[in-house]
Amino acid sequence: MAIENPRIVADVVEVNEFPDLAQRYAIRGVPKTVINETVEFVGSIPESQFVEHLQRASSPSTS
């Protein structure tokens, strides 16, 4: 996704190595995805649903 849009930064974080992040984002299952600290979900989901989450995170009401 970051390949397609200059405003996207996509991080993959190995959470066992960074327990502070595991705690901050309350990671209890993986993969857990957090977008702009506002939208989050756990598990692998279909591409279309992922896009919906991105749209939600980028809507003006979500900041």
Binding site: R7, V12, V15, Y25, P31
Partner: protein, 150 residues
């Protein structure tokens, strides 16, 4: 000891045959020191570096730049790197930023290889519809995917 077996290397070389553009791997790590500094140890930095060196050795289109996180903190800041080991993947066709924190082993290793191919080709494996939506998003988006090696 090598991380990648002979078979792994051959398989990855075959995968890399499709690479078209050059990919830069900007790696942030810790200089090896005989001194142990409590709170500053990076347990996977050395292994991550070795693994990346092995990957880079399998294609002349992949280039590794290793930076010391402390001594070269300006470069780290430029890429907003606040922890190590870290990896920033860039290529002409990559519009945004793709980063890895921690050692990309286990399942994440295959994800890394897939990203390398996508970055080199300058296109994602996403559907046309998704790409269209993505290109229409005009807000900075930071996607963090938390994983474990298994």
């Amino acid at each position: 000891m090598a991380f990648l077996s002979h078979n792994d290397q051959n398989e990855i070389k075959r995968l890399f045959e499709q690479l078209s553009g050059d990919v830069r791997l900007i790696h942030f790590t810790q200089r090896e020191s005989p001194l142990f500094l409590p709170g500053q140890e990076c347990e996977t930095c050395k292994d991550t570096r070795l693994l990346l060196e092995e990957i880079v050795g399998l294609s002349d289109k992949i280039h590794l730049e290793a930076h010391d996180f402390v001594a070269e903190n300006e470069i780290a800041r430029e890429h907003a790197i606040d922890r190590i080991p870290a990896l920033v993947m860039t290529a002409d066709g990559v519009k945004g930023k793709v980063r890895y924190f921690g050692m990309p082993s286990g399942y994440e290793f295959s994800v890394l290889l897939g990203s390398l191919v996508d970055a080199s080709l300058g296109k994602s494996a996403l559907s046309e519809e998704t790409v269209k939506v993505l290109q229409g998003l005009d807000k900075d988006l930071h996607i963090q995917v938390f994983v474990t090696p298994t």
